[in-house]
C-alpha cells in the first residue's frame, strides 16, 4: 500500500517536472543563447550549455547601434512605466471607491458602461484615439501612453479594486463618519490603507502590461530616441539590421530581467490578485 503511494508520488512529481521543463525551456534557451559564442547558437541549437560563456554579448548588445544604446530604451521604458503605474493607482482607487461606496444617482448605469468597456477590443478605439492625439499634437510624445492611465484607462483595474473594496465591512465607514470624517477622509484614512494588497496587485499588473506593451508605442512613437525597450528590441532584431545574434539574445534577456525581478519579489500578490479578480468576477 505504502509502496503504491510512493510510486504515485513519484509519477506525480516526475510528470510535473517533465512538463515543467517544456514550459521553461524557451526561457532557459534564450538565456543560454545569450551566453553562447555566435557560431554555436544555431549549430547546437537545442543544447542549453554554452561551450564557453560569453558575457561580452551583453556589453556589445547594450551598446546598441548608431548613437542609441539600450540605456536610452531602459530609461524611456522606466519613465513611461512609472508614470503609468502612478496614474493607474491614483485613478483606479478613486473611481473604485466612488462606485463601491458612494450612492450617487446614475451609479448603476455608469457601472454597467464601465463593465462593457472591460470587454471592448482595443482596436476599436485605436484609430479615432490616434486621430485625436494627432490633432492634439501628442504623437511622438509620451502623452498618449501616459495620460489614459490617469483617467482610468484600464477598466479591469477599477473592477478589481471595486471587488476588493466591497469586501471591506461598511461598518468601518460608518464609524469613521460618526467620528466626523468626510467622504474623502473615509477614502483616504480608512479604505486606502486597507486596500494595500489590491494596490500591489494593480501596480504589478500595470507594470507588466506597460513594460510589455508593443502596439501603443509602435503606433505613437516615431523618434527612435523615444523608443521603449519593446520597440528598441524589435528594431535590434530586425533581420535587415541584424548582424549579431548573441547580443540580440542578450538584450532579449535584459528586457525581461525587470519582469523576472518583480515576479520573484511580488509573486504572492500576483497570484492572489489574479485569483481574487477572476473568481469573484
Amino acid at each position: 500500500m505504502k509502496r503504491q503511494k510512493n510510486l504515485k508520488t513519484l509519477i506525480y512529481h516526475g510528470s510535473i517536472w517533465v512538463l515543467g521543463l517544456f514550459m521553461i525551456y524557451p526561457i532557459l534557451w534564450t538565456i543560454a543563447s545569450s551566453l553562447k559564442p555566435e557560431n554555436e547558437i544555431f549549430r547546437n541549437a537545442a543544447s542549453l550549455i554554452p561551450s564557453e560563456i560569453r558575457w561580452g554579448n551583453y556589453l556589445q548588445g547594450w551598446e546598441g547601434f548608431g548613437d542609441l544604446s539600450f540605456a536610452t530604451f531602459f530609461i524611456n521604458s522606466t519613465f513611461v512605466t512609472t508614470m503609468v503605474v502612478i496614474g493607474t493607482l491614483l485613478s483606479s482607487t478613486l473611481v473604485a471607491f466612488g462606485f463601491a461606496r458612494v450612492n450617487f444617482r446614475f451609479r448603476m448605469p455608469l457601472f454597467v458602461c464601465m463593465i462593457i468597456t472591460l470587454m471592448l477590443p482595443q482596436q476599436v478605439t485605436l484609430i479615432p484615439q490616434y486621430i485625436l492625439f494627432h490633432k492634439l499634437g501628442w504623437v511622438n510624445t509620451y502623452l498618449p501612453l501616459i495620460v489614459p492611465a490617469f483617467i482610468g484607462g484600464i477598466p479591469f483595474f477599477i473592477f478589481l479594486m471595486i471587488q476588493f473594496i466591497r469586501g471591506i465591512p461598511r461598518e468601518l465607514d460608518e464609524a469613521a463618519y460618526m467620528d466626523g470624517c468626510s467622504t474623502f477622509g473615509i477614502f483616504w484614512r480608512v479604505i486606502l490603507p486597507l486596500t494595500t494588497p489590491a494596490l500591489a496587485t494593480v501596480a504589478i499588473f500595470s507594470f507588466y502590461w506597460t513594460w510589455d506593451d508593443f502596439m501603443t508605442p509602435l503606433v505613437y512613437l516615431n523618434d527612435t530616441k523615444l523608443y521603449t525597450v519593446a520597440l528598441g528590441l524589435q528594431m535590434f532584431s530586425d533581420p535587415a539590421s541584424l548582424s549579431a545574434w548573441g547580443p540580440m539574445f542578450a538584450m532579449s534577456v535584459a528586457s525581461i530581467i525587470p519582469q523576472l525581478l518583480v515576479f520573484l519579489f511580488f509573486q504572492k500578490y500576483l497570484v492572489e490578485g489574479i485569483t481574487a479578480g477572476g473568481v469573484k468576477g
Binding site: 524557451p26 534557451w29 537545442a46 477590443p121 486621430i131 502596439m215 503606433v219 497570484v271 489574479i274
Partner: protein
C-alpha cells in the same frame, strides 16, 4: 398645527434632496477620472470612428463622405479581409479551447496538498508573465526557425525539419502553440475555483461509488462553470485582439496565412493611412466580438451553474 407638520415634512424632504445632491457631487468627483476618459477617449472616439468608417480619410486632407463604400468594398472586393477573418477565427477556435483545457488540466494537477506545489505553480506561471513581451516573440521566431532548437529536438525522434515560421502550413500553428504555452492566468483562476469546491461533494460521490471521470463530469465541471465562463469570455476577446505575435514572428505571412485581423487593421491604418477603411474594419471587429460575447452569455444560462440561484 397641520401647517407646521407640513413645513417640517417639506423641510426634511428638501434636506434629503439637498443631501442627495451633495452625494451625487461627491460620487461624480470620485469617478471623474474614469468619466472623463470614458466620454473623451472612448465614447467620443467611437462616434468619430463610426463617422470615419463612412468616409475616405487619409489624415492629411479632410474626410470625404462615401457612404457605405468602405463596407461594400470590404465584403465584395477585399480578399485579404476575408483571409484575416479566416485566420483570426482559426486562431481563436484553435487556441482558446486548447489553452483552457490545458489550464484546467494543470490546475487539477496542482489542486493537491503535496510538497512543492507552490514552486510548481510559480514555474508554470513564468511563461505567461513574459509571454506578451517582444523578447519572447523574437525568441520564438528563432526557436521555431529552420535551424532552431525545436527542429534539433524533433530530429532526435526522426522528424524531418520544417521551417515552422515561414511554412504556410505550420506558421499559424506555431503562433497557436505560443499562446497555449501562456496558459498561466486561466490556470490560476481555475485553481482558485477548484479550491472553492467543497470536499464533501467528492467524498459523498466516492461513497456512492462514482469514478474519478464521473466526479469530474458531475461535480467539477458544473461547480467550475462560472469560472469556465469567465475564462472563456476573456480569452476569446483576447484572441480576437491578438497582434504582437503575428506582427513580430511571422509578419502576417507567409502568403497571409497568419494575417490576424488586428494586423490587417494596423496595416490599413498606419501603413496605408486609410483611416476610413480601417475604422470600418474596427467596427466589424467590434460587431464580431459583440456577437461572440452575446452568444457566450446567451448559452451561459444553460450551462453555467450558480450556487446562489439554487441550480439551473
Amino acid at each position: 398645527m397641520p401647517e407646521q407638520a407640513d413645513v417640517a415634512k417639506y423641510n426634511s424632504k428638501s434636506d434629503k434632496l439637498h443631501k442627495q445632491w451633495k452625494v451625487d457631487l461627491i460620487g461624480f468627483a470620485f469617478i471623474a477620472p474614469w468619466l472623463i476618459g470614458f466620454l473623451g477617449f472612448i465614447i467620443g472616439p467611437m462616434i468619430a470612428s463610426l463617422y470615419f468608417s463612412f468616409t475616405n480619410y487619409d489624415l492629411l486632407s479632410s474626410p470625404t463622405w462615401i457612404g457605405l463604400d468602405n463596407y461594400i468594398n470590404m465584403f465584395t472586393n477585399d480578399s485579404r479581409f476575408w483571409q484575416a477573418i479566416k485566420v483570426t477565427f482559426i486562431f481563436v477556435f484553435g487556441s482558446v479551447p486548447l489553452k483552457l483545457a490545458f489550464a484546467l488540466f494543470v490546475a487539477m494537477l496542482f489542486n493537491t496538498k503535496r510538497r512543492g506545489v507552490g514552486l510548481y505553480r510559480t514555474l508554470y506561471y513564468v511563461p505567461s508573465i513574459l509571454g506578451g513581451s517582444v523578447a519572447i516573440a523574437v525568441v520564438w521566431k528563432q526557436l521555431f526557425g529552420r535551424d532552431g532548437a525545436i527542429n534539433d529536438i524533433l530530429s532526435l525522434f526522426g522528424i524531418p525539419s520544417v521551417s515552422w515560421v515561414t511554412s504556410p502550413d505550420f506558421a499559424l500553428s506555431t503562433l497557436i502553440i505560443l499562446v497555449v504555452w501562456q496558459f498561466g492566468s486561466p490556470m490560476l483562476i481555475f485553481l482558485a475555483g477548484l479550491k472553492a469546491i467543497p470536499a464533501e461533494l467528492y467524498e459523498a460521490a466516492a461513497v456512492d461509488g462514482a469514478s474519478p471521470l464521473h466526479q469530474f463530469i458531475k461535480i467539477t465541471i458544473p461547480m467550475l462553470s462560472p469560472v469556465i465562463f469567465f475564462n472563456l469570455v476573456m480569452q476569446t476577446i483576447q484572441g480576437f485582439m491578438a497582434f504582437t505575435q503575428s506582427f513580430l514572428i511571422t509578419e502576417g505571412g507567409p502568403m497571409d496565412r497568419t494575417l490576424f485581423y488586428a494586423v490587417y487593421l494596423y496595416e490599413k491604418a498606419f501603413a496605408h493611412f486609410d483611416m476610413g477603411y480601417a475604422s470600418a474594419l474596427a467596427w466589424i471587429l467590434l460587431l464580431i466580438c459583440g456577437i461572440f460575447t452575446a452568444f457566450i452569455f446567451r448559452t451561459a444560462k444553460s450551462w453555467v451553474y450558480y450556487e446562489s440561484e439554487g441550480g439551473k
